[in-house]
Every structure is written in structure tokens, then in C-alpha cells.
Symmetry: none
Subunit: 135 residues, 4 copies
């Protein structure tokens, strides 16, 4: 389940975050459920506890989980997630940047758009499988 690539350019704590986000999005980690403790997870994925904690801390900052000191870390109820406009702008900028990169590679507009749509539509199924429509 947990996929880590130590050779990746992406830092480990970011990969840990991405994995957890995926699990949260697909309801494998349901709302209000408890995440593994920092120590547990760090042992399980063979990573230093500090690295896991950094991931948890950042997830909390972004609103995906909340922490009760001395008790554990829990998935934020989706109803409670507030859309952070600053974060949204960052993601938009990231999308724009990626799209530009496609054009820099020599793809024309239509081809680039095609690539983007194929990625999005591929993602559609991924979410249909794991998510619930009536939640």
C-alpha cells in the first residue's frame, strides 16, 4: 500500500503525505479514524520518526488531519475541511506551470489539452472506485 521511493527527487515526508492523502481520499482512512502513531508508521515504513512527524505536522497544517496531543492523530471530517484560498492559488499556479511545460516541449495547444484531459479522466475512475457518491 505504502509506496516510497527513496531515490525520488520528492522528499520522503512529501511522499508520506501523498500516500496518506490518497488513503484519506479513498476513504481507506475514514473521517475521524485514527492514523497510526508516529512511531508505528515510522517502524512500518522504515523511516525515521521525525520524518513521519514532519509529514503529520504538514498534513495538519493543510487541514487533512488534526492532532490530540498524547492521544493520536485523526482524519479531519470532510465537512470540516475549509478551502484555503492561498493553497488553492498555489495549486492553480502549479497546474499552469505544468501546462506551460507541456507547450515548451513542443506540443501544440490541442495536443497539450488532450494530454491534460487524458490524465484527468484517468483520475476519474480512480476516484469512483474508492470514493462514495453519497457521502
Amino acid at each position: 500500500m505504502f509506496q516510497l521511493d527513496l531515490k525520488s527527487r520528492k522528499s520522503i515526508y512529501e511522499q508520506v503525505m501523498d500516500n496518506l492523502k490518497e488513503l484519506i481520499m479513498t476513504d481507506v482512512l475514514a473521517s475521524e479514524s485514527k492514523l497510526p502513531s508516529v512511531r508505528e508508521l515510522s517502524k512500518y515504513i522504515a523511516v525515521n520518526p521525525n520524518t513521519v512527524q514532519k509529514a503529520y505536522r504538514e498534513l495538519e497544517r493543510q487541514g487533512y488531519v488534526y492532532t490530540v496531543s498524547g492521544v493520536g492523530t485523526f482524519v479531519t471530517d470532510k465537512k470540516d475541511i475549509v478551502l484555503d484560498s492561498v493553497e488553492l492559488e498555489k495549486v492553480k499556479a502549479k497546474l499552469l506551470d505544468a501546462f506551460k511545460q507541456l507547450m515548451y516541449m513542443g506540443l501544440d495547444f490541442d495536443k497539450a489539452k488532450e494530454v491534460v484531459l487524458s490524465i484527468i479522466n484517468g483520475e476519474e475512475c480512480l476516484s469512483c472506485k474508492g470514493g462514495k457518491k453519497d457521502d
Copy 2:
């Protein structure tokens, strides 16, 4: 012309690369034309020569320019630029990642898709025509 944001998380050499790619793709830097020397450019944009050096080296690795020792660096003929599949996959991953983030933020599939399309279409003219609208 050259837009650098030192405060950005993006490294300087990547920003230099992006600027040059933009200039190449919009034919401001025509095929086979000579790029400014590392020293010239670094002075012009007030950046460490090593940084420009790294941008040039990476551009060459990706096929955008080629170097003739002792003579200079030249823009590869667009016809000869081959799509770097590794780079393409990176960008695809980036797109997917950003799209997922949109959904993580509480947007449903259709809303997220809408956001993406608006970004793409807003960006349409910039690279299609090789000109700028109001910047």
C-alpha cells in the same frame, strides 16, 4: 523579458531554463541562433554564473540547445527537438498531482475539471500565437 522570482520555491536555474524555453518556443530565440554567453546572461539577469551554467547544461541535456566548444551555445532546430519521454512523464505526474490536490481540497470531479480547463484556456493565447496579450 526575463522574469525571475527569487522568492519562489522554484530554483533559479529552473526559472532561467523556463524563460529560455519560452523564448525558444516563441521564436524570439530563433533556431540555430546563438544564446548569450553564460557570463553575459548572468550579468544581465544578475544571477550567479554557475546558475546560468547549470541551466544551459540542463537545456542541452534536454535537447533544446547544443554547445560548440569555444564558440557558443545555439538553439536546436525545432524539428530536431525530440520529446523527452522522461520529462513528459514528470510533467504528467505533476499534473495528476495537482489535480488530486484540487479534489483533496473538497472540489468534486466536475468542479476540479472546470478549474483546470479555465486555467488552460486562459493560457491558450500565450503560447499559440507566440505573443503576449497584456503583460
Copy 3:
């Protein structure tokens, strides 16, 4: 009545203390009246007994309650509560800290003062009258 926010950064025992202080100051818990036992309260508010225990111990240290071994914990007569200067200094420091933060955020002195006064005055009734308005 008892308001606990597990998601808060404030530790549970501090929140328990604050709730009890509030009840004492508003005479809901009258002078010399008996507090619920640690076990009772911990069951009632669904909190670990150790946590309640710690709250009681700290309240006693600060003079709000006193314990009669084997009998129970009782509210100190308000006349006998002496201002704990150490605690007072802590609160003062906290106030100053918060005020500085307001100014750090770009508010000028007058604006920051305005914010503080609005908060104070909004809070006026809650403790003056011992009642609640709309909560």
C-alpha cells in the same frame, strides 16, 4: 455546560480547569460546595481520570479548591482566594504577547487597541452577570 475541544491545542486538563474556574466564578459551583469526584466527572465528560485528577491538583495548587482526604474536593470561599502573582504574570505576558502579534500583523497601535477593546467589551457580560446570553 462543559465545553471541551479535543482538537484544540490547549491541553485537556487546562480546559477542564478553565471550565471549573468559570463555574466557580459564576457561582454555579458555590463556595464550600463539593465538586464531583474525579471518577464521576471523568465519566461525565468522557475524559481520562488522570486528566481530571491533574486538573483538580492544579486547581488546588492555585487556591481555587481544597481537598479533604477521603471526603472530597471543595470550592474555596472566594474571599479566601488570593491572587496568584505568578499566574497573573503569566497571563499578563500572554496578553502582551498577543498584542504584539496584532502589531506584527500590520495593525497600527490604535487599530490593535480597538481590536482588543472590542474583544473585551464583547466579553463583558459573560462574567459580570454570571449568566449567558445566547450560548
Copy 4:
């Protein structure tokens, strides 16, 4: 200048942050000026580099400084500081909490208000000394 109290309840990185905020507010560290490097400061105040970095990172998150990787950390121009409404609400909550604490201590409303005002007005001079009116 730098005041650290290792025995304090406040964590070291928070104290480091507070010290730096103070220096920034009083223009000892002017806009766009460079903060000491993580290593320099950590050596100077005899604290682990990681702790200093945590402080820098958090200051950046709150908008007081910005980072240029490989170059250094710089004071954000005051004109660029955006008022983060989330942070503002946190400070307001902190103020309200502190004010409640005063009342819990047995101070009546007027006395508590007096305490608050005295603190604020004490701060006024502190800011007049170090700050500039025409900035």
C-alpha cells in the same frame, strides 16, 4: 539582545521566533535585510541548527521572512505582509482567553480592563522608540 530561557515552558524555537519578531518590528532587522544563517545563529545562541531552522521555517510560514534556498533568509518587506485572517482569529481567541483568565482570578471587569490597558499602553512606548512613524 537575544534572550533565551531554556527553563521556560515556551519552547526554544518559539522564543527564537519571538526574539526575531521583536527585532523585525523594531527595525533592527530592516526590510529585505538578511537574517543570520541558520548555522551562524545556532552557534551564536548555542542552540541546535535544527531548532533555529524550525523557527525560520515557521516565521516564513507566518510571512515575516522569506527564504532563498542556497542564499539566505530575508525579512519580508512590510508592504508585502498580507494579513492572514486565520492567524488573526487565533490571536483574537488568545486575547479573549487571556482576558477570561483574568476574570477567573477574581478580578472584576473594570479591574481586568485596567490591567489590559496598562499592558497595552506600556507597549505603546516600546513601539514608539523602535518604530518609525513615516514608514
